[in-house]
Symmetry: none
Subunit: 199 residues, 4 copies
């Protein structure tokens, strides 16, 4: 069981990388087994189908990211830093994206969307908790926290996931965040350098 699990994890990593860089649709099972150096049968010994592989890949990836985010949440650091940390650990495919750059955009909508949805859904409770802490500390003031957090996450991935955005967009995003959460003007300025790094 040890050895088998290992193999599966390895296959998962390979599939993940290929899905990310070439797109799910553009990656054939043959491509995967060629890269992994295994036989067709072996692949289907570990995975029910290609679709299920995608599911597993996403699950694996999300688990890792959410795990990291949870640790940030559990740390003894100021609320704003927690928020920053969660967002950073959540940003998907951060490492792989630069590999082939923009190639991810046109052909990978399917996977990208799937990940986006799931990630947002999993991140909302975590960030909500952080916001609540912020409210308790008097930094934020608002109701409907999960809804507000969700919108912030969605718009953030809309604007920033592509990698190309303007100064003004960042400014508006910060302004929106502050107003949505009921923070003092300038309270969320610390996000700026965080995003800027991506460029």
């Amino acid at each position: 069981m040890k050895k088998g699990e290992r193999r599966k994890q390895e296959l998962l990593r390979i599939a993940y990388k290929m899905f990310i860089t070439r797109g799910y649709e553009n990656t054939s099972v043959d491509d995967i087994i060629a890269e992994a150096g295994i036989a067709k049968g072996t692949y289907y010994y570990y995975f029910e189908s290609k679709e299920q592989t995608l599911e597993a890949v996403i699950e694996m990836m999300l688990d890792q990211e959410i795990e990291a985010a949870k640790q940030v949440m559990a740390a003894e650091i100021p609320v704003p830093q927690k928020i920053a940390g969660i967002i950073t650990s959540i940003r998907p495919t951060q490492e792989e994206q630069p590999i082939e750059g923009v190639l991810m955009q046109p052909e990978n909508v399917l996977m990208h969307n799937k990940i986006r949805r799931k990630l947002v859904e999993k991140a909302v409770p975590l960030l909500s908790e952080a916001v609540e802490e912020g409210i308790a500390e008097g930094i934020f003031a608002c109701d409907c926290i999960p809804e507000r957090v969700r919108m912030l996450l969605l718009i953030s991935s809309d604007i920033f996931d592509e990698g190309s955005f303007t100064e003004r967009e960042v400014a508006v995003f910060i302004d929106m965040t502050e107003k949505l959460l009921g923070a003092e003007p300038g309270a969320m300025e610390f996000i700026r350098p965080l995003i800027g790094l991506e460029e």
Copy 2:
């Protein structure tokens, strides 16, 4: 030229409906010509490729919607109503969506995304103009108008295009809109019934 154009428009409508209801990938050229009752050659007489058909379909749809939105903009009505009108005429696939309901979600990400992007891009200038009118009238007060408008459009399609949303989401969206545009609280409440109708 008359006859040919007619035929093409008809094919475009058929392809449009099929793409929307079954998804672009799930609609084969064979499906289209069967539905249209024409020969393969005829299809390729009018379209270079399936991909190009998609492009044409989107173009056609967008043109119609943008045209309607422009007429709203040109009308002699109060600014808030203009905004409402533009958003309404822009909402894509309004009629077709209910046909097969949720079927649109998983397999049509590609087309949906393509439309979303283009539509937002085309709608931003129109709505920006409306917002500027509102500023002139003292209803709104903000800078970076196109950026703000774009975010509102993106988030609105994220939240509302799927058809399932909560009261609280609507409330937050309205709150966000007001704050983003610098309007008085309650100024955008008129959006609520507009969205609610969709459910």
Copy 3:
């Protein structure tokens, strides 16, 4: 009838050029009419089929070349020069070949072969006549003239039509020619510069 003939000749020239440069198989009727700026129907008004167009194109080309060769034959010049002249006027596609260079080799075997055969067949009697003159003048001495001439033509197109050949091949070819026709050694050396120009 005048105007129609003109048009046909023009189409023939266009088809000829396209067949030569892109290959018969790679040239679609659509390509031809696009280049000629006419409608499909017009094309089929002038030609029965694509195949027949090829036939006509070859016929036209050959007629021109054979005509030139006949004039050489009729001229009052020494026999060796006649032979040289005939060969020169016969060399197929001399003008077009350099246009796209080697592109002609892989995809145009069909047409190339067709032309080769027909050209050789038409050239054999002309060259045979020249050789007979040469025999009468005591320059050559051999029997089975048409057979010998034919072999020389075939091998010459095998070796020289491609454009890449060596010094030694030329030397052997000249040696062979002299021996086949029963000429004195060195009698056919005048061919050398003729061929060399092609390189």
Copy 4:
């Protein structure tokens, strides 16, 4: 590996026969798999493409012929017999050609040419070696052996591959061979019955 190789060889033979008899272009992949009784996928499991199949078919055929020719060369027999043997084992498609007779001519130029070129290229060194032996024995006397041999091979395939040739053509060919190689008149007469058999 055993089983797979077997199957591939079998497919190769089937494809070979069909290409030869109907022509490469006129043989569809569907034809081949129908004849072989396999599924489409199986075909593409063994061959990358139709083109590659042709390549493999030619390779296989050539290998066999060259192998036979090499054995002739290695045998302890007089030089003229060696030459005769090599030419005989090299003659391509000897067995299949009669199957559908002339059908091979118009539509199979592509494959025929491809084979011809490769075969000549591979046969030149073998025959050259034989000629050199002949020179050592005083039977032949010439320079530029490969070039001379190549011309003989080319002309021989031009004249004799079609199956229709005259007595006089044979006579001239023999004469040419003798003179090209610098042999005594009559030295190559033994070729005559060899060729005659084809008719």
